[in-house]
Amino acid sequence: MRGRNGRWSRCFAFVIAGALVAASCGDDDDGDSSSGTAAETTTPASAATAGGGGGATTAASTSATTSSGGAGSTSATTSSGGTATAEGLTPIPDGVDLDASIVMAYSVPPNNLDPALSTQAADNTYMYMFYDRLTEISEDLEVVPYLATEWAYGADGSTFTMSLREDAQFHDGTPFNADAVVANINRSLTKQGAATARALAGVTGIEKIGEYEVQFNLTGGQPSNLPVLLAGNPGAMLSPAFIANETIDLKTGFGDVGSGPYKVVEYNPGQSASYVRAPNYWDPGRQLAAEFSISFVDPAARINGVRTGEFDLGQSAATDSAEAISIGESGGFNAYPYVINTVYGALFNPGSTGVLANQQIRQAIMHGMDRDAINEGLFEGRCEPRFQPFPEGNKYYFPEIEERYPFDPERARQLVAESGISDPSFDIQVSPGSYEPFAQVMQAQLEDIGITMNIIPSETSAVPVNFISGASPASYLVVLAYPDLASLYANWYGGPFGNMLNPAVPEAAAIRAAAAAANSTALSEQQQIAAWREVYTQIQELAVFAPGCAAPQVWMSGDDVIGVEQMPFIWQGAVVPYTIGKTG
């Protein structure tokens, strides 16, 4: 008996021991990364000394011009308090702990960290920590200098010149200059499968015209929003030494190829990325932490992790925003609600077969939606009813678009009757999650005006695909945030979601022509806005997008975390958290 017991015990012990060895294999990389981190960390103070360039920056930042010829400005200096290292550079806030490690929990995993190939906006959060771009977009959606200090379109609109910083360098030590920009833009234009090539349509080439000056060659007087585009992936700068050989697949690997405030030390595709402060960076105010990590985390774990201090910063899910705000109000953490420039709503294909081909039916839907009820009923008044992604007060906000379709069930029923269609009914594809409640409320409201909306549950990624391919006459989606009207049009009505302006609809051709005219470098900024205003008014009349409201995102952070409200791209949702630091 004892012998058998002994054998059983030894067997069990062996199994346990084996399992523990397996357990230790789970995160070997952690150890590697921490050792790398310690070896490669430098302080902002030393970086500032090495970076230098204060005089050049000052001159550059005060002379930046936009496409319309107006004076640009560096919003980088808008943070309140703190000590600026040099004029034009980001100030380092007083009391910040420069040795801090910051852990951020994010709602979307990293998918592809090659800026030419990435097509997911949320990748920017992971990428822009280590890729500087030529320009930046401020919170009020102005284009501001970044690696480029000033820019201007040529008189005839066929060229676009940029002056560059003279004090920047890549993580591998390669200097940043005109050659680097030429290599990067050529990569953006020519890399196989590059999404950036489509974004840069109209750019025929680029040439070096000085050590720190480049000229883009344009065709057809487009794109008029090149400074905006260069704040995104087309303007992300990789080391030209890497571009010459491309020895790393940036989708799955990493190296010292970046130019941004942090360098990658660990990357787990689909899960997380870890960074350390890049040495010799030109703007130490953008690298307030010694170490930074961003991980894709389940919504409940994001809230719990920030509450317990295991995460310094986290983004709540849209469906958890009320809970996050409530916890914030009770002192569990700091909660910063922010209505991003996106609008939930239904997209219609007016060229589809069925009732949605009828403009009166589509307009009836617009009148039949009670957005205030959606806001109050689903979001306790926190989802701002909007017909357009740009908020009131923004230069791209047009009040008449908000006023065109007030909630008017009588008018809606009248339009249904005028359409001559009895018992109108249509299918709409909706993905599970936060879209479903919207769609269900909309369904009930349309029922009141005599329109039956059949909700077809569909996989999240299949919803846009089916609309784009024409397989679905309607889809419930969120119109993503873009910094300007040209970008919004290029990525929606004039781009993949062109079915909203289906060529089968007579008005579509005129709207497309008006959009092409609005996207011209020959126009001043005011002229462009006026032209786009006309385009979007016509689209509104066509009633191909029935919006609901713009829900807030809530950023949760610990008491010692600073810089949350200043995060670039917070208006888009896909923030770049290099303003984040911790107080000592």
Partner: protein, 312 residues
Amino acid sequence: MKQVVRRLLLAIPMLFIVSFLVFVLVDLAPGDAAVSLAGDNPTPERLAEIRAELNLDDPLLTRYGRWLGDAVTGDLGSSLQTEEAVLDQIVDAAGVTISLVIVSVILSTLIAAVLGVIAAMRSGGVVDRIVTAVSAVAVAAPPFWLGMLLILTFAINRSWLPALGYESFTEDWWQWLRHLLLPALALGALPGAELAMQLKASLTEELGRDYVLTARARGISGRAVVLKHAMKNALIPVVTVFGFRLAQLFGGAVTIEALFFLEGIGSLAVSSTFQRDVPVLLGLVVVLTLLVILLNLLVDVSYSYFNPRTRR
């Protein structure tokens, strides 16, 4: 030994069937890997390109045959999303999940042993009723809800234990244990309660048998009667339930890993399902099927210890 070999051989057709079923189910589900790889706002042309690159337009049997041909040589392929070797991904994630399951098994076994024995020895009394009530609540409580409650109580309100994350055992065993206690308790509560009730019922029955009365009549202490004689017989049905539950712990780990931010096999299964990452899904199916077969085998083998009659 013969039985062990036979069971292992039976695993081979089982693996074929399960992997083929998963392949078919993933294929039947709406969307495909190309859709998730194409990112925001993909054009039909880009989707077609990706489908061509991944051979997603080939007939189902061709694609399955191609995977199977590699799998029998030990090559489970690469992830469509990350291009990392599937086996490497599974091995990385398995350490976390196995750790979670081990701690969970230890906790649930301890809970079951203590509650089950106490309730059986005080059968019909107040203690028995309390144990039964607690077990009923634990069986009814969803692990996710229980996990939230544990986090709120022990991590948020009292800061005794971390709410999430994982530490390697070899780097710091104490932190490893601290990080796993709450998720393991949430995961192990249900099987622990079930085992406790099973043990109580089984032990109560054994304690009423003649051999127990004889042993007591011979002056053997109550403790020795329970632990040395009755317990061994009472454990036979308990081990059967334990075998089932052990396999289910791996399934339950999916929600618990998400809640506690443990990057284990459950998290990998969820992400690969959403991303239609068929090679990773199939690799997980193969590994988990093998694991369940081995666990069941281990349980069957353990019968021979508890019940010598099964050795014949």
